[in-house]
């Protein structure tokens, strides 16, 4: 049995006590830094990466990194839920319902559900990864530019489900997001676009700056305008633990999300981002009372968090087979790989099986340690909400500034936080929601790149998008999703049910 041998090799490597210690240390540090308000997972990992550089043994370094990764992810979800401060694109989905739960005094439940869902999904996805890595890698290879383009279009259209107000405004936000994603040098020609001669804009806008601005700072502005927030964010915290009934409610979402996440995570590029958005959309569709979504539906936390974690596991498939990082955090991980003298790619799996499988096993162990470490600490994190808001929000502002600045030592990124904060606030006021904008911003470059590549390959013939079967199916699905979203009768109902209450 190849699979068992591989896993056994992995666990024998990862369970060595010093590796276990490094993993635990990584989880603890990652969580501790990740929960600092304004410091998202990307910033957390960037801040903590240098610690692993000094290690002699690459396996230990990568295992500690896996711990940091999980800790940072979870810490990021914590601030997304408690303070509506998602530090990366997938946590933006968690924030939608998670933060509403926190406002209703159910922050502890949201945090527990996020941890448990992630753990369950991570466990299954580890097995998926071990079983399916080789065949899935081949499947991912058959995705050409046209298929990617169509997949991204489908993802963007499906994201309308994220918005609760007007469909038109959600569409406009997506397009605006894609446009913001085009800022910077054009990939093919190097021509600067929308840079207005500012050299710092050549690399494009920083995702972290845009996310912290439109979610974090805009949220602060909204709270400051809201008389209820004058004293404390949340005065009552009902119960810390999910009830039996609540646990039963999340079983379905977690299972669906695990499947969805495992599948989408394999796609190099945007799979990880799409997974949590897709899971949210699916849960909203299958839910018996979709009206709860946007107002603290527990499924809206469990689904995306599980999908996100499952995708994080399977996104190692493109990373290990093609050397393609799926998202900014993975890109940082690749950086760490390279510093350890390992170039991720098809050869790593055969040449250094102990390392690869050790890493996969340690991802799972990181997950276990995360749950063990964090479930008892939930009460502590929730107490963050009882800090008087007059103290809490300056902390968020300052930490967000430092965190954003520390990523690239670029003051322009911080300036972008200020601009996008005010923009996000005005947009919320106008009934336009930031979540679709952020998704457009993340997927925009992928959309453009694949559109142009597909057209280049087909010599300018746009029919490739419909004649290639997978691409055609995806586009048809996107069209159906669009029609359903725009259809007035359905929409009217949607508006009433999903209207966001901010």
């Amino acid at each position: 049995m190849d699979l068992l041998d591989n896993l056994a090799l992995g666990f024998s490597e990862a369970l060595q006590w010093h590796n276990l210690m490094f993993c635990l240390l990584g989880v603890a540090l990652g969580t501790a830094v990740g929960v600092l308000p304004g410091i998202g997972p990307t910033a957390t990992i960037a801040l903590l990466l240098p610690i692993t550089f000094g290690f002699d043994d690459p396996t230990s370094a990568l295992i500690m990194l896996a711990g940091i990764y999980y800790g940072a992810q979870y810490g990021g979800s914590t601030t997304a839920i408690l303070l509506n401060l998602p530090g990366e694109s997938s946590a933006a989905v968690t924030a939608i319902d998670g933060h509403q739960m926190a406002r209703a005094g159910r922050a502890g439940v949201a945090l527990a559900v996020a941890a448990l869902g992630s753990f369950a999904a991570g466990t299954v996805a580890t097995v998926v990864l071990a079983v399916a890595a080789p065949p899935l890698a081949r499947a991912a290879l058959s995705f050409g530019a046209a298929e990617y383009f169509s997949l991204v279009v489908l993802g963007l259209i499906a994201s309308i489900a994220l918005a609760s107000g007007s469909t038109l405004k959600a569409l406009a936000m997506i397009v605006l997001g894609i446009l913001l994603g085009t800022v910077g040098q054009d990939l093919n020609t190097g021509t600067p676009r929308f840079t207005f001669g500012v050299r710092e804009l050549y690399q494009g806008l920083s995702f972290v700056a845009v996310a912290v601005g439109v979610f974090g700072i805009a949220e602060i502005l909204r709270n400051l305008h809201d008389p209820r927030s004058r004293t404390r964010m949340v005065s009552r915290v009902a119960n810390l633990w999910p009830t039996r009934a609540e646990l039963r409610r999340i079983v379905g979402p977690v299972i669906r999300a695990t499947g969805l996440g495992s599948l989408l995570g394999v796609l190099p590029g945007g799979g990880h981002v799409l997974a949590s958005y897709a899971s949210y959309a699916v849960e909203k569709r299958v839910s018996r009372n979709p009206g709860e979504f946007g107002h603290g539906a527990i499924e809206g936390v469990a689904g995306p968090e599980s999908a996100n974690n499952a995708a994080a596991q399977t996104s190692f498939i493109p990373l290990l087979t093609l050397g393609l990082p799926a998202h900014p955090v993975m890109a940082l991980m690749v950086g760490a790989f390279i510093i350890q003298g390992i170039t991720p790619g098809p050869d790593v799996m055969t040449e250094q099986p102990a390392l690869v499988w050790g890493l996969i096993a340690s991802m799972w162990i990181g997950n276990v340690l995360l749950v063990l470490l964090n479930l008892p600490l939930i009460g502590l994190w929730v107490r963050m909400l009882s800090v008087p808001y007059s103290v809490l929000f300056p902390v968020i502002v300052v930490f967000a500034c430092i965190g954003t600045y520390s990523l690239g030592q670029n003051p322009y990124d911080v300036l972008a936080v200020a601009v996008f904060g005010v923009l996000g606030f005005v947009l919320i006021r106008a009934g336009c929601e930031p979540a679709p904008l952020l998704l457009g911003f993340v997927l925009g470059p992928l959309l453009e790149e694949n559109l142009r590549r597909a057209l280049l390959i087909s010599r300018g013939d746009p029919s490739v998008f419909v004649t290639r079967p997978i691409s055609g199916v995806l586009l048809t699905l996107a069209l159906i999703a669009l029609v359903v979203a725009v259809l007035p009768a359905i929409r009217r109902k949607r508006d009433v049910v999903f209207a966001e209450d901010e």
Binding site: V33, L36, L47, P50, S164, G165, S166, L168, L171, A172, V175, I178, L179, T182, T191, R193, I217, I220, L221, L224, H225, D226, P227, R228, G294, H295, Y389, S390, F393, P394, V395, V397, V398, F399, A400, C401, I402, Y405, P411, Y412, V414, L415, A418, G421, V422, F425, V426, L427, R429, A430, E448, R452, L455, L456, G460, V496, A499, E500, D501, E502
Partner: protein, 160 residues
Amino acid sequence: MGPGYVPFALGLVLAGLGVAIVVKAYVAPDPAPGEAPADARANDSAVEDAPVDDAPADGGAPSGRAASDADVLDPRPLAGIQWRPTVAVFAAVTFFAVTVDGLGLLLATFGTGLLAALARRGTGPVRALVIAAGLTLASWVIFVVLLQLRLALVGDWLGG
């Protein structure tokens, strides 16, 4: 397909959507978002300078009180904006961006913390100073001492 192709196409789409939103706002306004659970803001006192009587008369709102919330229902997005928090928070973040290299981490943090703290009505200057000082200390301990972030504590302008 030059570098301008996609942005131009997107610009056209966005302009089209913008026109559609404008037209729709006149022809068939969105059912008021206020129909969302009213309990979420039932106890809101209306934002002070919100024009209470300007709520759109689209009949979608459950009650006049909730409908007058500038938060959601005022059709003009700028109408209910209070300038003190908006300007102060914007200034706080901008201050950090402009001064972090020149004045260094400590002073930039202090200034940003001070401006941000003042954004909230009811926070007096003394309290704001205390918050800013505490924040500066906390940032120094967390980022410089514990995380060993390579940031200049005192910036170029001050000869650091």
